[in-house]
């Protein structure tokens, strides 16, 4: 039985620290969200703000929060610091599910497309679980490799569908690998938000049980936690928080991986604060990235996934080196 530690040993943070960090994140996010409503190429008329910027800001906040929480849930459920919706195949599965839905006639940004994304995400998640399952435990390395395989497979099928579909609505493959909030609309917000909200609620309800899970399956079971059920619910919530978002804005990498790590360094490993912090941190980071994507090179729109990868990849490398130094390895 594995007993992977989630974080370096450090003192549990003081309650005041928790308040300060969550408060600061909330204030920063709110300030940036307000500022983002007034930054842009066009004059800040009421119409521009309500029709173009507001749905975009809300979508960025909710999808960012979803990505952060999804990473926290996956890392907790698998007791695996490398888990992330992109790495375990959920994002690619969701993209494929969406494209298949659109190829048979659904419109982008619709409930139907978001639903296709969620079903694709769940299918990918279930496949990865099935591949990585060995009696009594889920191996870390197998899980990641299964995720890589599922991602490659889903990406390949997606390319085939995009290339051969007669439905003009299927988007370019580039969109699915770099993501963009450029065409965020209110219907897109309405199609995404409920899925993310349900995912967040489940995540919050599971936080105490995920703490028990971090002791190891056997210890958690002995203390009365229904290990299998908790894990499955965590995975379902992890899919809900990202898959509908993928359907609307494409795949955004690294946020789900990075944010929970950063929050854990500051707030410690307990899942209640980790999930709250990851939601705020993810929302802040994605909003920051999207605001950069639409203003830095204006009038040219940068794909937001490019911005997150440019920031995320180096940050991830630093994290890798730091974790290796302190923990001596992953598995």
């Amino acid at each position: 039985m594995t007993t992977t530690k989630l974080t370096p040993r450090r003192k549990l943070p003081q309650p005041r620290r928790l308040l300060v960090v969550l408060g600061a994140l909330t204030v920063c996010t709110a300030a940036l969200a307000t500022a983002a409503l007034f930054i842009g190429a066009a004059d800040s008329t009421t119409q521009i703000i309500t029709d173009i910027r507001a749905p975009r800001v809300i979508l960025a906040l909710s999808i960012g929060a979803g990505l952060g929480v999804s990473g926290a849930l996956l890392q907790g459920a698998f007791r695996n610091p490398l888990a992330d919706p992109g790495l375990v195949g959920v994002s690619a599965g969701a993209a494929l599910g969406t494209v298949l839905t659109v190829a048979v006639g659904a419109a982008y940004g619709s409930w139907l497309a978001a639903m296709g994304g969620v079903i694709g995400g769940i299918a990918a998640m279930a496949s990865v679980m099935w591949i990585a399952k060995t009696p009594g435990r889920t191996e870390v390395v197998t899980l990641i490799l299964a995720g890589v395989a599922i991602t490659a497979f889903a990406a390949a099928v997606l390319s085939i569908v995009v290339a051969t579909s007669d439905s003009a609505g299927t988007r370019s493959t580039t969109f699915w690998t770099t993501g963009s909030f450029a065409l965020a609309t209110w219907p897109g917000v309405v199609a995404t938000l409920p899925f993310i909200a349900v995912g967040l609620v489940i995540a919050g309800a599971l936080s105490g049980k995920l703490d028990a899970l971090s002791l190891g399956d056997r210890a958690a079971y002995a203390s009365g936690v229904p290990v299998r059920a908790v894990r499955w619910w965590a995975l379902i919530a992890a899919v809900l928080t990202v898959a509908a978002g993928v359907a609307v804005v494409g795949i955004i990498v690294f946020i789900g991986l990075l944010v929970p790590h950063a929050i854990r360094l500051v707030l410690g490993p307990r899942h209640g604060r980790l999930i709250a912090g990851s939601a705020l941190g993810g929302a802040l980071l994605i909003l920051l990235a999207d605001t950069a994507a639409r203003t830095l090179a204006a009038p040219v729109e940068l794909p937001v996934g490019v911005v997150t990868a440019i920031i995320g990849a180096p940050a991830f490398i630093l994290l890798l080196r730091r974790t290796r130094r302190e923990q001596g390895g992953w598995a």
């Binding site: 910027r53 006639g105 409930w111 978001a114 639903m115 003009a168 489940i202 009038p299």
Partner: protein, 318 residues
């Protein structure tokens, strides 16, 4: 466990409700039928609305190629006008003109399949600088097939040289065709010039591509008496534009292609896109839709297209 079970029930109920709600709202298939619902000024210029291409009487020379594959943008139209439509055995997606539509399309998403071209055993393959990938063209040339690159045409002035180059490759005297090209009437400078944005749409690909200087559409818009907003800003052709920049440019009219319109679920979809909805064009739903194969072909049908475009500009503005 009881608590998470309850949450599960709530979540499932919401998902089912979501799925049901979606059936009503978004289940419509992407077609341009929604055009009928819009009564505002929208003009469709279809390939069928343009006069048919009449072949000239000049005959190809005795050693003229017999099996032609046309891969250069829109050159099929020129081949038909030169009277060699029956010799076209393969074509690209843009060469869609009566007489050669029976020839199989050997490109997919603007990418040439060398194998499919060679399978047609052509003796002449016409390409231009944009035909891709060059590796496929090298394979075709390597198999001993004559590959001729004709100049691209993105302005009305480019049409003559390209027709001459195509005619030389297929060994037909082009003088009759060049003389028969109707000269387009000069734009009436007294008329106000509407600001037109050529927007390239593909499945709401996350961004707009705005046609700029050299997109081809700028030449057509100018000839038809409009101002191309992208060219005015000196943008490169097809800039991935932020929605807000489109609002700032504030075009009076949107020029789109038929397939592009279909890919955003028709006019209603187009007019709902962020950035489009807030422009003068979007607010008044002033849209001109041109069939993909005729808009940027710069062939014998282009002068008639410019005339229709001029008419369309005044129709949607009034």
């Amino acid at each position: 466990m009881r608590r998470s079970g309850l949450i599960a029930l709530v979540a499932t109920t919401m998902l089912v409700a979501a799925a049901c709600a979606s059936d009503q709202g978004a289940g419509s298939t992407p077609t341009i039928d929604s055009a009928n619902a819009v009564t505002e000024p929208v003009v469709f210029i279809t390939a069928d609305s343009l006069p048919e291409v009449e072949p000239i009487t000049a005959q190809p020379g005795p050693n003229a190629p017999m099996r032609i594959v046309s891969l250069a943008n829109g050159v099929g139209e020129t081949l038909a006008a030169l009277g060699v439509a029956d010799r076209v055995v393969g074509r690209d997606e843009t060469s869609d003109v009566a007489g050669i539509t029976d020839a199989p399309v050997v490109t997919k998403a603007h990418s040439v399949s060398a194998e499919r071209v060679l399978d047609l055993s052509p003796d002449l393959v016409l390409v231009d600088a944009a035909t891709a990938p060059v590796e496929a063209l090298a394979q075709i040339a390597g198999a001993g097939v004559e590959v001729v690159e004709v100049p691209e045409a993105w302005t009305l002035a480019d049409m003559g040289p390209r027709i001459s180059a195509v005619a030389a490759a297929v060994d037909v005297d082009p003088d009759e065709l060049i003389r028969s090209l109707p000269s387009t009437s000069d734009p009436d400078s007294a008329q106000p010039q509407p600001r037109v944005a050529f927007v390239y749409l593909r499945g709401t690909s996350g961004i707009y591509l705005l046609g700029g200087a050299g997109s081809g559409a700028d030449a057509l818009i100018t000839a038809a008496g409009g101002v191309d907003v992208g060219a005015e800003e000196d943008f490169d052709p097809f800039v991935p534009l932020t929605a807000e920049s489109l609002v700032t440019l504030n075009p009076d009219i949107l020029l789109v292609m038929t397939k592009g319109l279909a890919s955003v679920n028709g006019l209603d979809g187009l007019l709902a896109l962020p950035g489009v909805a807030q422009t003068n064009a979007g607010k008044n739903s002033r849209v001109i839709v041109v069939d993909d194969e005729v808009l940027l072909s710069f062939g014998p049908r282009t002068p008639a297209l410019v005339d229709q475009l001029r008419e369309a500009l005044s129709t949607v503005m009034n």
